[in-house]
């Protein structure tokens, strides 16, 4: 699976160290600059890091409903794009006002 990078991150460390990425995995980095591509989950809008030569099954997945990359945490959840969730949150106030206005 080919994912076009949706972000870029750098860790600048003076010594070899283990970093925790996204609560999902730990990686050993060398002294200097460690670089990672990042991807933005289309469902929850969270950022997850992608290392070089990473197995596709560890990166996350491709939602077959919206055909967008999603993070590993959203793999077993239904397709609910974050854009749609925001519209529902933003419209809820207006919808509640309309219900109250038209209710008997």
């Amino acid at each position: 699976m080919w994912i076009k990078p949706q972000g870029y991150s750098e860790i600048i460390s003076p010594e070899q160290d283990i970093v925790n990425l996204d609560h999902i995995r730990r990686e050993l980095i060398s002294p200097g600059t460690a670089k990672f591509d990042t991807c933005t989950c289309f469902h929850c809008n969270s950022i997850f890091h992608v290392s070089a030569r990473m197995r596709p099954e560890d990166i996350g997945g491709l939602c077959k409903t919206c055909m967008r990359p999603i993070c590993p945490k959203c793999l077993d959840k239904p397709c609910t794009p974050w854009e749609k969730q925001m519209e529902q949150l933003e419209n809820k106030i207006e919808r509640d006002r309309a219900v109250r206005a038209y209710s008997v």
Partner: protein, 185 residues
């Protein structure tokens, strides 16, 4: 959409937030942004709701180098009005319209309320973490989003939830955390 930059090292004045403090084992909110119907910017009377897009995060510590583990995250928050009561009073960070824009030609300042180094932790729900990295205290970290891949928060009030973001940090040591955001709205 105008772009803004916020650092938790400055504006330690009444109404904008607090001075930097040492981290503890409990998450501390360093930068908090969110929408509120209470006017946060005098140029937008009656309050304004606007989506924000966080696309650049720079983090590090300004403590004496030591080997301690620091966890950094960005959480979606449901801000109570009390959380932003500090920011929206006179002298609040978001009303300092000339100090936050990357382009000084943008005249109006940020619509969203902004609070740095909050002394009152914001309300958030578990599972709403959108960014996390755990690194050594000696390390610094930067993330930049490609256009269209930013962390976005909606233009709604706390009544419907998830109306803002909070950048936080905690550590087993006691370094002083520094966080810089660049966002647009």
């Amino acid at each position: 959409m105008p772009n803004f930059t916020v650092v938790n090292t400055t504006f330690a004045v009444a109404g904008a937030g607090n001075a930097q403090g040492a981290l503890t084992g409990t998450y501390k909110s360093l930068i908090t942004v969110g929408n509120s119907t209470t006017p946060t910017n005098p140029n937008f009377t009656g309050g304004g709701l606007r989506r924000g897009r966080l696309y650049d995060i720079l983090i590090g510590t300004n403590a004496t180098p030591a080997d301690a583990y620091v966890e950094w995250d960005v959480e979606r928050i449901t801000s109570g009005t009390s959380t932003f009561a500090v920011a929206i009073t006179a002298g609040g960070l978001s009303s300092v319209s000339s100090a936050l824009e990357l382009d000084v030609a943008d005249p109006y300042g940020a619509v969203n309320g902004i609070l740095i180094n909050s002394s009152v932790e914001t309300t958030f729900s578990s599972g709403n973490e959108v960014f996390y990295v755990g690194v050594n205290q000696r390390a610094s970290y930067r993330w930049v989003a490609a256009p269209g891949s930013e962390i976005v928060w909606p233009a709604n009030t706390s009544a419907t939830g998830n109306n803002g973001l909070s950048g936080r940090a905690r550590s087993g040591g006691t370094p002083t955390a520094t966080m810089m955001w660049i966002f647009s709205e």
